[in-house]
Each structure stands twice: as C-alpha cells, then as structure tokens.
C-alpha cells in the first residue's frame, strides 16, 4: 500500500494547541501543503498574528516573525521590501485584520504589496474568551454582546473581501469555507492560486476562510460546522471577489 495522505513537511512536529474541532488546524495544513507543493518553504517568511494563532510560528516550518496585533501586513511589507525574492504571508484572525489592523490591511492591499494574507474569519474573538468581533453577525451572542449584537449600538459586520475588492492593488480576493471536505478542496485551490499569484508578482492576494470557534460559540465541533453553514455563509457568500491574476496589478513600462 502507498501512503496517499500524510503530514506535509512544511509543518513542524509540534502538536497544535487549538481547541478540539477548531478549524485553524485545517487552514494551517492547507497553507503548509501549498507551500510544500509549490516548493516555496525554503524562501517563505510567515508573519504570525496575535490571537489564537499567536503560536503559528511554532507550527510552520519556514522562517517566522511575530507581529503586534493587527500589524502583520505592515511587518510583511517590510519583509517583502527587504527580501523581494521571498514569499511572504500573514495569517490573521478577525480582530487582527478587521479591527485594530484595518488600516494596515487596507493599505497593504491598496499598495498592491506582493504578499498573501490568510484571513481566518470566525465571527468572534477566540483567544480572549469570545468577545464581539467586527465580523460578529447581527443578533449573535458573545461575551460583550450578551443580548445579541444590536446593530443600533454596535454597528454592522464588515465584509472584508467585498471591501478590499474595490482596491486596484488587489490581484486576488476569494472567500472560502472549511466546513465540508468539498469546501476544503476549494479553499486549498484558492490558497494555491493566491500563492501562485505572489510567485508571479501579480500583486496583493487574500483568502478569507470562514471558520468555526466551537468553544466560544458554545457548540460542539460538529454543531459549529452546521452553524457556520446556516449563518455565516449566507452573510459572507463564498466566491471569488477579485481576480486580476492574468495581468496583475503592476504596470511594467
């Protein structure tokens, strides 16, 4: 018998600390598999966020840098400008990317920085115990919206892919989900397309991955997948929001 599925070399042997059923593990694996399959691991530098994935630097087998909360795209910009031949990605949650880091996210995108952002959207702040995130749904109960998110006082969720797709520097923006095996396959294709766009110097790429947080949603891992399907996908539709990977965003005189 031949091995048809085993752990990729782009992941270290350190076991993930994530909660049972947390989809971070799936997403880490997809990113690592893509790096391995495209033979990029040796020249990749990843930027870890502040959030549940703060220890991401222990799990990826490439050089890693820890960024302050929200600052990963700025750190990634510094790395890419210093080492233009490297492959640079950030891995960020919804607080990191869409709350404190909104400016860094928007400006790295509009500058067309040749980096790849993996955006893990689980509509809640996981690490700090389940507070409202910018992507928390209307009516969703969290620690800081105990009566459900009231859009009159707490405002509306932000749709990142839609928002970033208005920027000319964005070469590729796709929203995917990891709630089913089929969706996981689509997600991996998106990650591969994003990193390929970076290799080809096409511009900024982002893959937004709808994810679960069983612990803070108060659901079992399997129930959490159902909740994602029923509530998040309708609000955050899956699909490609920008694809300029043929020509890219840079002009070459």
């Amino acid at each position: 018998m031949a091995v048809v599925f085993e752990k990729t070399k782009a992941l270290t042997d350190i076991p993930f600390h994530y909660c049972p059923g947390c989809t971070h593990g799936i997403i880490h694996r997809l990113v690592a598999e893509v790096l391995d399959e495209l033979n990029l691991t040796g020249r990749t530098i990843g930027v870890a966020p502040v959030g549940c994935a703060v220890f991401a630097y222990n799990y990826f087998n490439c050089d890693m840098i820890e960024a302050a909360h929200g600052r990963a795209p700025a750190v990634a910009t510094g790395v890419k400008r210093a080492r233009p031949d490297s492959i640079v990605f950030t891995y960020q949650g919804d607080g990191d990317l869409a709350a404190i880091g909104t400016a860094e996210t928007v400006h790295s995108a509009t500058r067309g920085e040749n980096i790849t952002i993996i955006f893990v959207n689980n509509a809640i702040y996981g690490m700090t115990g389940g507070q409202m995130a910018p992507t928390t749904l209307p009516g969703q109960i969290t620690q800081t919206t105990p009566y459900g998110r009231d859009t009159n006082t707490a405002g509306y969720p932000v749709r990142i892919c839609e928002m970033l797709s208005t920027l000319d520097g964005v070469a590729y923006a796709e929203r995917v989900s990891v709630d089913t095996v089929k969706n996981i396959a689509t997600a991996k294709k998106a990650v591969k397309k994003a990193f390929t766009a970076q290799v080809e110097g096409k511009g900024f790429s982002i893959v937004e991955v709808l994810s679960t947080c069983p612990t803070n949603w108060g659901l079992t891992p399997i129930e959490a997948l159902d909740w994602l399907r029923a509530n998040m996908i309708p609000y955050y539709p899956l699909g490609v929001y920008k694809d300029k990977t043929e020509k890219g965003v840079k002009h070459h005189d």
Binding site: G42, I45, Y57, D63, M64, A74, V75, A103, E104
Partner: protein, 354 residues
C-alpha cells in the same frame, strides 16, 4: 579627503543613512522632519532602495520591524507625536532583539503641541520608548556634522548589540544648515545576521523572530540577559563632551541644540571672570554619569539647561548623588533659550553659592 557640503540637518542625516548602508526607509510626513522622508523619496528609487510612505507612524515602525527581522538596515523618522505612535512597535522591536534606527526630531508637546523645537521627549526615549523592561541606544547630535556622524555609530552599535537606536534631534537641528563632510564612505561590509527571518533555503532550522515568552522563568532569563548586555554598554559606551570643566565652579549640563546656546553662555561667563564649564552628553542612553560623578567632586554647582520642564536634570541629579546642588533652567512651548538667559542663571547661582 571628503568635500564640505552645505546641508540642512534633516537632509544630511538622511544622506548619512544611505552612506551607512541603509536601503530601507519607512516614514510618514510630520513637521519638522519631513525633509528626511522627502530626501529618501528622491534618493532610494535611484539606488534600488525602498522608500515607502506608510499609512501612519504605526505602520512605518512595523515595516521597520519586518525589514530588520529579515536582516537589513532599516530606519524610520518622525517627531514627538509620531514617536508616541511608535511606542508599541519599538517595544516589540526591542523585545525581539532587533537592530534599527529611529529618528526623533523633537517638537513642542504634549499632544499636538507646536512645531517649534523642544527637548521634551527625553524621558520618553531614555526611560524606554514603550512598555516593558528595555532600553534603547540614544544619541544626541548638537551640530549638523553630528547629525551625519552619529548615524554611522547608531547603525553599527544597533547591529552589534541587537537593539534599536534613536537619534534624538530637535527642530532647530533638523532645519538649520551647516557645512558637513561625509568622512565615512559608502558602507558595504555589513555584519552577518544568522538569526534573521529571511528564508532558510532548506539549509537550516527555521528562524523565529518573536517577543512572546509565555513561560515566566524563560522570559525572566531573557530579560536578565538583555540587562547584562545593557550593563556592559553602560560601562563602555558612555560619551560626553567636556568644555572648560577642569577648574569650573559651575558646570552646565546640556545636550543637542541647548548645548550650543550653553557654550555661548559659558564663554560669556568666562569673559566676566566666572568659572563656568559645560558637560554635553552625547549618548543620552547610556547616560554619561561617570564624567558628571567625577566633576561633582570639583565643581560647586550644576545647572541643567533643557528645552523642557526638566527631564535630563533627573539623570544629572542621580549622577551628582547629592554631593552638590543641581539647578534647572528651561524654556518650553517651542521657545529656545538665549545665551543671555543662561548667563543670568549662571550669575545668579554663582552669586548665591559661597
């Protein structure tokens, strides 16, 4: 022999950074240091370097973190309100043991304050520009030539000790024009950085540049090791200029633009037969306490002169150790003290001291 060129302080500093091998500048406009950004924006594209006008001073310092982590000489510059924005980033850079250069061309504060020169960021940069236990190397130029020379020292020492360096200037130095020489040519032999996160090329274990150490004993050990390094720096890298201090009854301590004014006042005092002298700290961290402690045995009094409500004077008092009285004179709000005002202070203090 290098030619002398008349240059504005900000521009001379920027040019020196390029000659020191810096090819990555991330900045944001703010008065009175925008010329540094403008100069970099003209020069960097021509030499294959990076000039990036970031969306904020916060983004700029984080870009510096990234570039420094990737192993290159990186810098940013700002003025007081922008330096406050960088606090978080500087703490992360120090906590990650990364070298870099930060320029603070001080203006009046607090808050939006004013755009005229001041020295009221002294505490901010010497007590550590951010949360946690750490120190930065701090250099205080007093002439446009020093705006040039200290850039080389700052980058060299930052690389050697793996910590951020600050050049603490003020609006007057940034804007004034003086002849300068670029005595050190284009630096090309930069030190190796085996710890950098620059892509392992499958030839080594992956490098991690971070500042999170969740295990308390591990974090304590790391911080203590850093402090052993700081102790060594305090022993060997203190620098100050002494002017007519040997027989001085009163020693005036001042740095940066204030020192130029004090020197003038000291000369006037000497003409009046008053034995005044000056100690001009060149490194603000490590503070040159050794020379002050030594002169506290011979001088009768000290006077700190700053463009602030009195920040460096704390360090003067600590160094004098209660042996002699330490006075303070300062102007703030963007006002530069005059030599005449300082001379009055000297006269008053010596008149009273018996």
């Amino acid at each position: 022999m290098a030619d002398k060129v008349l240059m504005k302080g900000n521009e001379a500093l920027a040019e020196a950074a390029i000659k020191a091998g810096c090819r990555h500048f991330f900045g944001y406009p703010i008065t009175p240091q925008t010329e540094i950004s403008a100069h970099m924006s003209k020069r960097m594209p021509k030499i294959g370097g990076t000039y990036l006008q970031a969306e904020s001073e916060i983004a700029a310092i984080n870009m510096v973190l990234g570039a420094a982590a990737a192993g290159v000489r990186a810098m940013t510059s700002s003025s007081s309100p922008g330096i406050s924005l960088k606090s978080e980033g500087v703490s992360y850079i120090a906590g990650s043991d990364l070298p870099c250069l930060i320029i603070d061309v001080m203006r009046a504060g607090p808050g939006l304050g004013g755009i005229q020169p001041s020295q009221s960021d002294y505490w901010q940069v010497t007590r550590a520009l951010g949360h946690g236990d750490f120190q930065l190397l701090v250099f205080a130029p007093s002439t446009v030539q020093e705006m040039v020379d200290f850039v080389f020292d700052a980058f060299d020492m930052a690389d050697k000790y793996r910590m951020p360096a600050v050049i603490l200037a003020d609006g007057m130095l940034g804007q004034m024009m003086e002849p300068v020489e670029f005595r050190r040519g284009d630096v090309t032999d930069l030190p190796e950085k085996p710890w950098a996160a620059c892509g392992h090329q499958n030839k080594r274990e992956h490098n991690i540049v971070n500042s999170l150490y969740i295990d308390p004993p591990a974090l304590e050990k790391l911080v203590q090791e850093r402090y052993k390094k700081y102790e060594q720096i305090k022993e060997t890298e203190q620098k100050a200029e002494e002017y007519l201090t040997e027989d001085a009854d009163i020693i005036v301590v001042a740095y940066g633009a204030s020192a130029r004014i004090v020197k003038s006042a000291v000369n006037s005092a000497r003409k009046l037969g008053l034995k005044a002298g000056m100690i001009r700290p060149i490194t603000l961290w490590p503070f040159p306490d050794k020379v002050i402690t030594r002169r506290a045995d011979t001088a009768k009094a000290f006077l700190a002169v700053e463009m602030s409500m009195g920040q460096m004077v704390d360090d003067v008092r600590l160094a004098v150790g209660g042996k002699k009285p330490v006075h303070f004179f300062g102007r703030t709000g963007g006002i530069i003290p005059t030599p005449a005002e300082v001379l009055e202070q000297i006269k008053t203090i010596l008149g009273g001291a018996k």
